[in-house]
């Protein structure tokens, strides 16, 4: 049921790493042990760069990778709109234009127990400084 792109990104993530001089946003999914640190560099309300590090299941880690792919170059407000579409997509909605970069996560809609793993990285938008 795992999307081929998801498996591929799990092995070769695009944005795994850290950003200097950026305080990471820490996220934990205590019930399964997923841990993420999301580095978001912002300038004038725009997310200009991002990285992630952490350990956990492929869903949580790949979701972090596509999260950064999707929100990089967007304003925080735009990022939140993308997030809303992403949340709808992983619950079964069609892939909207806004979330095409995260479409490999659509398979989560067939794994209801994994929705919280997929959401973890995206929760950073609520904690952004």
């Amino acid at each position: 049921m795992y999307d081929q792109e998801l498996l591929e990104r799990n092995l070769h993530p695009e944005f795994r790493g850290e950003l200097e001089k950026v305080t990471p946003i820490k996220l934990v999914n205590a019930s399964c042990g997923d841990e993420l640190e999301i580095f978001l560099k912002t300038k004038n309300g725009m997310i200009v760069d991002g990285r992630f590090s952490g350990v956990g299941c492929a869903i949580s880690q790949v979701s972090a990778d596509v999260f950064i792919a999707a929100v990089k170059g967007k304003t925080i407000e735009e990022a939140k709109e993308i997030r809303d579409d992403f949340y709808e997509m992983i619950l079964g909605a069609e892939v909207s234009e806004k979330v095409t970069k995260a479409k490999c996560m659509q398979c989560v809609s067939r794994m209801p127990a994994r929705v919280k793993c997929a959401k973890l990285a995206w929760e950073s938008l609520e904690k952004i400084a």
Partner: protein, 371 residues
């Protein structure tokens, strides 16, 4: 794609006779046990009492024990934990400040009911040291993580502490091997029918009558009182009914009786051999770390792959296993394992299930790019 069910420790495949007996109860009888004066109600009552006896026989209990029905192990342990507390209502035998010891191998169901009611609960990884002064000792019968059988430890504790109230979480024990509660010396053993092929929603406490007499009911209401007046105290029914307020799930109880008859310990032993074979074969896979293999359970991890990913890909291959903390987080943390993958067998497991499991695990290895 064939379906391979290896999550029997969560809930066992049902005995055909148990499912049939439950259906037949509703088709042919469908009356409340205990109170009705017509024939069908009498049949329901007789069936409920027969099931009680079947459970007692299953664990070789003598007349000093009875069975209190509950929804399962969790509710049974909650009944004991709450029921033992001495208040001013005439029930209970211990105080909230008394020492309660549970073992580190405990399922959350054998931890939380105690933690919520008592102030001095020790989750012990060193029973020899921690048991001194314990008023209640609540132990694991068979670990749902490792499959290890703790019968000899239970006997040892009984001999060393003859006066403590000694109870066992028997969820993974009852119906999986021949046991003798008298020899174990336990005051109570909690069990779930669905873990040994009976319907969900029925289980209970196999408990010394003497102790059951002192327990506070978890629920008050119908069927558990003799007389209720406008003023003054109610007169409660005798045990076991006093501890079983409300209409019992009689269909499930008929199913439980059938399951208790249908259990085949020889087939169960064969399933344990299958589990051993599975562990042996899994150990040959380079990325697999088998953490425990006892009885009907094999617990493992694949290096570099989160257990939920393993279980998901196994599911895609038609193999159903459990992954995560297995409702035993303190133990998995104590062992330093974190979340795990568990394959659990039953007397209905087949050699082809082992082959499918091993093949699917290799697929996980390949899909996740680990060696």
């Amino acid at each position: 794609m064939s379906e391979v069910y290896l999550d029997n420790a969560a809930t066992m495949k049902k005995h055909a006779g148990a499912v049939k007996a439950e259906a037949r109860f509703y088709q042919k009888i469908n009356a409340n046990p205990l109170r009705g004066l017509y024939k069908k109600s009498v049949q329901a009552t007789t069936g409920v009492n027969a099931a009680r006896q079947a459970v007692l026989n299953l664990v070789k209990a003598d007349k000093s024990y009875t069975v209190i029905f509950s929804r399962g192990t969790t509710e049974a342990i909650n009944l004991v934990a709450n029921g033992l507390i001495r208040e001013n209502d005439g029930f209970g035998v211990v105080s909230r400040g008394d020492k309660v010891v549970v073992d580190i191998e405990s399922h959350h169901s054998n931890i939380l009911p105690w933690k919520m009611h008592y102030k001095n609960v020790v989750i012990s990884d060193n029973l020899e040291k921690d048991l001194k002064g314990a008023k209640v000792i609540a132990l694991t019968g068979v670990s749902n993580v490792t499959g290890k059988d703790f019968s000899s430890r239970i006997k040892k504790v009984r001999n060393a502490y003859p006066k403590a109230i000694l109870g066992v979480d028997g969820a993974q024990m009852v119906g999986h091997s021949e046991i003798d509660v008298k020899r174990l010396g336990v005051d109570y053993m909690a069990f779930s029918g669905h873990k040994f092929g009976a319907p969900m929603g029925i289980g209970g406490l196999i408990i010394k009558k003497e102790l059951a007499e002192k327990l506070r009911p978890l629920n008050f209401g119908g069927e558990m009182v003799e007389a209720v007046s406008l003023e003054g105290e109610p007169t409660f029914a005798e045990i076991p009914e006093r501890l079983e307020a409300g209409t019992l799930p009689a269909g499930a109880i008929f199913g439980l009786n059938a399951a208790a008859q249908e259990i085949d310990f020889k087939r169960c032993d064969q399933a344990k051999k299958l589990a051993k074979t599975a562990a042996y074969e899994l150990r040959k896979i380079s990325s697999v770390k088998v953490l425990a293999a006892n009885g009907l359970i094999v617990t493992f991890q694949i290096n570099g792959v989160h257990p939920h990913d393993t279980a998901q890909i196994l599911a895609d291959e038609g193999v159903m296993v459990r992954a995560g903390w297995l409702c035993a987080e303190p133990y998995l943390r104590f062992k330093g394992w974190g979340p795990v993958v568990r394959a659990s067998f039953s007397e209905y497991s087949k050699p082809s299930d082992v082959i499918a499991l091993v093949k699917a695990v290799k697929k996980v290895q390949q899909k996740m790019g680990v060696k």
